[in-house]
Each structure stands twice: as C-alpha cells, then as structure tokens.
Subunit: 237 residues, 2 copies
DNA sequence: ACTTATAGTGTATATTTGACACATTTATTT
DNA sequence: AAATAAATGTGTCAAATATACACTATAAGT
C-alpha cells in the first residue's frame, strides 16, 4: 500500500497568537498585511506548512521569522477548518499560542513584517476567523495562568513581585490584593530571591526574583484540588 | 486572487477517542482493523475529512458511524502531523475527544466496524501515534473532570451518587472518601433528586439524581479559584 | 430477629483564603 | 536635614473550605 485512493489533500496553514506584556498591558503581535489576500487588513502571523515539516517545527519557524527568537513557549490552541473560512481556497489552520518576553523580540524582524504590538483592548478586527482564534487564546491564557505558572514566560528572567502582580491584574482585568498575592506566590516555592533590588524605581526598590526552574518543571502540573494527595504528581496508568 | 501559488495539499484525517464507563472501569472504543494499512492491528476509529465538510462535522459523522449516536460530547484534543506518522503517505490527523453513555451505543454499528470496548489498563498497543493520542486524552479527561462537570457525559440520564463516585475513582485510579465526595457534589447544586430509588441493588437503594441542565451550562466554566469573585462568570474584554 | 452490605448524615479539626493595618524604603520637596 | 509621597514588605484575625472519621438507616438473605 503506497497511497490512499480517492482522497485529495487540503491546504494546511499555521497561525500564531503571540502574547507579550509591557509592564502594564497584555499585547498581541499582529501584522498589517502587505500581501494578498486582504492586503491592508490586520491578521495573525501565519504561513503554510511546508512539505517535509512537522507542525511544531512550522510554528517555530514562523515565530522565529517574526520575532528573531528561538525557544519560545508554544502550545497548540486548536484547528480551524470551516469550509468557507478562507475565501481564496479551502485552508485548514493549526493555531499556536505563544508567550514571549516582549523585551527580547527583534525589532527589525517585526518591522520587516509590518507587525506591531497591540494592547488587547485596542486590537483591530482581524481577517477570516482570526478574531475567534484570539478570543479563544485570551480565554486559554486566563484558564491556564490560573492553574499553571505560565505567567513567567511573559516576564524577563528577573522580575519583582509587584511586576508579576501587574501581569496577573492585566490577564484578569481586575485588581488583586497585594499582600495576599505576595503570600500566595511565595508559598509556591517557585521564586528565588536574587538578593538584588530593582534599580529602576522612584520609591522603595522591590526585590528581584528569578524562577526556580527545577521546581517549575516539577510543579507545572500539580494544580488540581479536586482529588486527594495521591494525585499530586501523577498516579498514572 | 483565486488560489495560493506553489502550495500543495496534505491529507487530513480525523481520529476519535471515545470514552465510556461501565460502572467499574473507564473504557475506550477501539477498532481491530479489517482494512489496510495495518490490517489486524488495533487503532482508534477514524476517517478522512471530506472535501466540503467542517472538522466538527467530520468528527460527528465518524462518531455516528461507530456508535449510532448523535449529540455526543466532543472536544478537539489536538493535531498530530509529524512527517513520518503515517507510513503510507503524509497525513495530518485532527483528534477528537468524545464521552458517551456506554449503554446508548448501537451494538450493530460497533460489531460492523469490528470495534470493542476495552478497559484502559487492558488496552492493546495501537497503530501509528495513536498511543500518544490516547495518553493525552486520559490526561485531558483527568484534567478536565477535576475542573468541569464533564463526568455526567459518561453516565445515564439518571444516576446515583455512589455511581458518580465510582466514576471519579476510576478516572483518578484512587479511592475517595464517600462522605466528603457526596457533600462536595451536592454543594455544586448541579444535582436534582428525582425522588426515585435505584431498583437494582441488593442492599439499601441509592437515590437517583439527574443533572440540572440549566445550572450545568451556567456553572460549566466557573471553576477557577485563583482570581477574585469578579471572574466567576467572566469579565471579558 | 440477626447479619451483611451499602447508603446517607453529622461533627471536630486543620488548612487555606480574604480583608485589612502597620512598618520600611527611597526620591522628591520644603 | 526634616518632611512628604509613593511604593514595597510583613503580620494578624475571621471566615470559608477541606479532611478525617463516627454514627444511623435501609434492604435482602439467613
């Protein structure tokens, strides 16, 4: 057997939802298309899957293209394949969810692609079903950040607790009590005090922390409070 | 613009992971292939996406084919697209996660496809990357059931609390305290006492409950305990 | 009537969360 | 140099939730 009879292929695209945090707002990296179709409209960064390319490799390629970065935090968000979603021809899009430290991106690469960082509440309407994708990504960010320590992916290697709090306030669009937040975060055991104080501050300088990466990996999945202790780090079949 | 130049299509398959619960064990509906490739091996139920078919419609079609059921609980689980995953030709598979009430399936349809219900801990090795898919689905079931009331999708319309407990014990492969479980479940307000008692019981007959479907929809997403009240049913941008 | 097995309800204790007060640090102002 | 403003860091109490465990109730078989 060397082929499947009577089955024809479908175009496979990859679209990337890229989140950043500028210290105040959650931002999306969007492109103003200088190519067809829908030239002049806003959209997610994307591209077609190449013939001998794995899906994750395609996402990595596209993300690197736009940001100049490797080793980005990426997850599959879903597949969008409605028959009419792309007016040019039927295209199924695999959507990836990416979190980056906004300070690390390459400005030249972003300029080259006519891309911009845009705050969630100022985002323009996007082409095709990209609005739907972004909506789902925001939901996912909120869901995931409530249960897993992914917030750190949006921050520089060293960060302060107030910074982290502003991030969560931006994600959930709600104020959080400073003292309870600090207690909760420190109790995770994920933060290591670097001993250094934040230099750029007009008032009391906050302590800079870094992530305990070993513990981060260990604790990434220990979230559920529904089941008894035995599940903590996974009784698995 | 009526086409994208220099891009060729890829075969798109759909695979379905179908969970059931027989009162004791979580089961998977798997097929012993009586067709090529890998005739004789075990695999998930699947098929190719049709030319004018949406992804979810394809999943619905395939699920109906095997179970005789409509209105099945379905979610996208992910896309598997490694270049070498299908030895015949490159195929990208969109995987769906389905939960059904095992009593409702059509035995003829299952027999026709040479399918069987198999307990998780007795499942055979599957073709291609289907083992990986199943592993992810089990993880997802555990994750999701800890946060959302999806367990009910695996039970008949009327069920007892001890039945529900056995289901959760099967999902997490761990014993749960009867009294705390009952209190927790009742406190969700999702259960309506039908007033009927379970007939098939050699001892004290348990009360039969049904799901409060209005409240179920309402509460489906109110799970996170990380953020303050304001999030309960979604402050959204 | 007695036994066995399962269902249903209650209660005391420990742990976690939520609301809030006070003290500390640093640049700027007086 | 002392006072002020703005932010950081630590502590405490009450309420809510989770955990562990004991007792009572019902149905069927002996």
């Amino acid at each position: 057997m060397t082929s499947y009879p009577n089955i024809s292929g479908i175009l496979l695209a990859i679209d990337c939802i890229i989140f950043g945090f500028d210290g105040k707002d959650i931002k999306l990296l969007l492109i103003k298309r200088n190519f067809e179709p829908q030239k002049g409209s806003w959209s997610l960064m994307g591209g077609f899957l190449e013939a001998n390319e794995n899906l994750e490799d395609g996402a990595t390629r596209i993300l690197h293209d736009l940001t100049g970065l490797k080793n980005i935090y990426v997850e599959q968000l879903g597949v969008y394949g409605n028959v009419q979603r792309d007016p040019v021809t039927r295209t199924v899009s695999v959507v990836f969810f990416a979190l980056i430290n906004i300070d690390d991106h390459s400005e030249e690469a972003v300029k080259l692609h006519n891309a911009s960082w845009i705050s969630l509440d100022q985002r323009p309407s996007l082409i095709f079903d990209h609005n739907e994708m972004v909506y789902k990504a925001i939901e996912h960010l909120r869901y995931k950040a409530a249960l897993h320590p992914i917030g750190f992916e949006l921050l520089p290697e060293q960060f302060t607790i107030p910074q982290l709090q502003k991030l969560y306030e931006a994600i959930y669009n709600t104020p959080i009590d400073r003292r309870n937040f600090s207690r909760k975060l420190l109790s995770t055991g994920l933060l290591i005090d670097t001993g250094i104080k934040n230099a750029h501050s007009a008032t009391k300088k906050a302590a800079l922390y870094k992530l305990d990466t070993a513990r981060y990996k260990e604790k990434f999945n220990s979230f559920w409070n529904f089941m008894p202790d035995s599940m903590e780090n996974g009784v698995r079949i």
